[in-house]
Amino acid sequence: MDILITGLLLGGTYALIAMGLNLQYGMARIMNLANGEFLVAGGFAAFWFYTAGQVSPLLTTFIVAPLAFGLNWLIYVVMLRPLVRRAKSHGQLEVDAILTTFGLAFVSVGIMLALFGGDYFSYSYLARPITLIGDTYGLNRVTAAVAAVIICGGLWLWLNRTRAGMSIRAIAVDPKSARLVGIDVPKLSALAFALGGAVTAVGGALISTFLTLDASTGVMFTLKALVIVIMGGVGDVRGTIVAALLLGILETFVATLIDPGLTLAAAYLLFVLILLFRPQGLFGRRTT
C-alpha cells in the first residue's frame, strides 16, 4: 500500500513531464531529445528562486512556464521549422530532429554546467510528513502530485473543449488532412511544441521539490518520458496518464524491493514488453 501510493505520487509528476513530451512528439511531430534539459532548467529556476528569495516553487512555476514557452517557441520557429520545410520524407525529418534536439540537449547541459557547476542541487521545501490512510508521506511529494493532476486536467480540458486544442489533436491524427479543413498547421505545431516545453519545465520545478537533480540528469527524464509516451500511445493523453502512473508504481516497487539503482532497467523492461506486444501503445489502434 505504501509502495502503491508513493508510486502513484511519483507517477503523477511523471505524467506531467510525459504530457509535455507528448505535446511535442505526438502533436508537433518533433521528437525532442532536449526535453529533459528543460525539466532540469525548470528545476534550477525553482532552486534558485527558493534559495535566493524564499520564493515558493509553486509560485516559480508562473515565471518558469512563460519563459519556457517563449524559448521553446523560438527553438521551433528558428531551428526546427527550416528542417520541417527541408525534409523530403517523414523519416528524414525524424533523423534531423533527433540530431538537432540531441545537439540542443548537449548545448543546454554545457551551458548549465558553466552557470551552475556539476554539483547536485536540492533544497528543503515542505519537507514535512503528512499522513494518508495510515502511512506517512512527504508533503512535498503530495503537493507536486496534486499540482500535476490540476495541470494535466487543465490540459485535457483544453485539448478536448477548445478550438485550438481540438485543432492540435487533429494535427496529431493527420497533419495533411488537418490542412485541408483549414487548420493553420505550422502555427499550431509551434504552439504545441512551445506548450509542451512549458509543461515539462513546470514539471521540473515541481519535481525539484523532492528529487535531487544535477545538470546532466536531463537525459534520464527524457528517456522515462519517451517510454511513457510510447507505452501510452503517441498523441494519446489518457494513455500517457495511465502509463505514467504504471511506471511510477513499477519504479517505486523495484527501488524499494530490489535495488534503487535499477529504476531505468525497470522502465526498460516495461518498454521492451510494450514494443514486443503492443507497439501501438496501451490504447492505440494499429495503423493501416
Partner: protein, 313 residues
C-alpha cells in the same frame, strides 16, 4: 564477384595507407602512439557504425553498450584464466547476440523506437553490471596482460582492415543492395520481397560484434575497469558525430571525420575540459545545418562543380 581495375586500384591504395599507418610506432613517440590508438579505435567504431546506420538511416546510440560488453568479457575471461586471444571471439559472439536481441525487439518498428532504445541501452547494461557487482561485493576488475600499446595499435589496424573488407563485400552483395533500397524507401523494399527486418538485424549484428571486439582490444589499455568507464555514453555520441561529420555515403567517409575530430577533441579536452559537452552539442548542430552529408558530400559537390566548370570551359 569480378574485380574491376578501379577495385584493384582502391585495394592497393588502402593496403599502402594501412602499411604506412602500421609504421607509426617506429617513430618511438609515446604521445603519437596514444593518439594513433584513439584514432584507430574511433575509425573502426565509426566505420562499422556507418555500415549499418549509413544505408538504413537508423541512428544507433548503443556503441558504448557493445564496447563495454567487450571490455567486460575480456576482463572477466582473463580473471577466470582464459587466454586473451580466446576472449576476442567470445566478445564478438556476445556483441552479435546482444545486437540481435535489440534488433529483434526494435528493428521491426519505426526508427524512433530504435534510437530511444539504443540511447538507454548502455545505461541499462551499466546499471545491471553495477547491481551485479554490488550483489557480489566486487567493485572493479583488473586486466593484467603483457599486451603493450603497440600491440593494441596493430590489432586495431588489423580489425580496421577486416571492417573495410567486410564493408566492401557487403556493399557488393545482395544484402548491401537490399539495405540501400531499405534506406531509400522501406515500403518499396518490403514490396519487392526483401525481408527488411532480417537484413537490418544482420547488419546491426556485424556492427555490434565489431564494437564489442574493439572493447576487448582496449581492455588491456585501461588495466583497471569499472562500469562508469567501460559504458561511458560519451563514446556512443562521439562515434555518431565522427561518422556523420565524415559522411556515411562512402566506406572511407567516417575516417575523414574521425581524424580531424579526434585531434580537435583531444585539444579541447586538454585545454577546456569543462566545455566538452557544449562542443559535442554544437557539433551535432553543425552537422545538421551546415554539413548534412558530411565532408564526403562537400568533397563530392566540389568535384561536381569542378567537372561542370571544365565542361563549360
Amino acid at each position: 564477384m569480378s574485380m574491376t581495375k578501379s577495385d584493384w586500384q582502391s585495394i592497393t591504395l588502402s593496403a599502402v595507407l594501412l602499411a604506412v599507418a602500421a609504421c607509426l610506432p617506429l617513430t618511438g613517440d609515446a604521445y603519437m602512439l596514444s593518439i594513433g590508438i584513439t584514432i584507430a579505435m574511433y575509425a573502426v567504431l565509426a566505420t562499422s557504425w556507418a555500415l549499418f546506420s549509413g544505408p538504413t538511416h537508423y541512428i544507433s546510440l548503443a556503441t558504448a553498450a557493445f564496447f563495454g560488453l567487450g571490455t567486460y568479457t575480456t576482463a572477466i575471461g582473463i580473471e577466470n584464466g582464459l587466454n586473451y586471444w580466446v576472449t576476442l571471439p567470445i566478445a564478438a559472439i556476445l556483441g552479435a547476440v546482444l545486437a540481435a536481441l535489440v534488433g529483434l525487439a526494435t528493428l521491426r518498428l519505426s526508427g524512433v523506437y530504435f534510437v530511444i532504445f539504443t540511447l538507454g541501452l548502455a545505461e541499462l547494461v551499466r546499471q545491471v553490471v553495477t547491481w551485479g557487482q554490488n550483489v557480489s561485493g566486487q567493485k572493479g576488475l583488473y586486466v593484467l596482460t603483457d599486451i603493450t600499446e603497440v600491440h593494441i595499435y596493430w590489432q586495431l589496424l588489423v580489425l580496421a582492415a577486416i571492417v573495410y573488407l567486410t564493408g566492401w563485400a557487403i556493399g557488393r552483395s545482395r544484402l548491401g543492395f537490399a539495405l540501400r533500397i531499405i534506406g531509400d524507401d522501406e515500403e518499396v523494399a518490403r514490396h519487392s520481397g526483401i525481408n527488411t527486418s532480417r537484413a537490418k538485424i544482420l547488419l546491426f549484428m556485424v556492427s555490434g560484434a565489431t564494437a564489442a571486439v574493439v572493447g576487448s582490444m582496449l581492455a588491456p589499455r585501461y588495466i583497471y575497469i569499472e562500469p562508469a568507464l567501460a559504458f561511458t555514453p560519451m563514446l556512443s555520441f562521439l562515434v555518431v558525430i565522427m561518422a556523420l561529420l565524415g559522411g556515411t555515403g562512402r566506406l572511407w567517409g567516417p575516417l575523414v571525420g574521425v581524424i580531424p575530430f579526434t585531434l580537435l577533441w583531444e585539444a579541447i579536452s586538454a585545454s577546456f575540459p569543462n566545455q566538452t559537452t557544449l562542443l559535442l552539442g554544437l557539433s551535432f548542430l553543425v552537422i545538421v545545418y551546415l554539413l548534412p552529408r558530411g565532408f564526403v558530400g562537400l568533397i563530392e559537390s566540389g568535384k561536381r562543380k569542378m567537372r561542370e566548370r571544365e565542361a563549360f570551359a
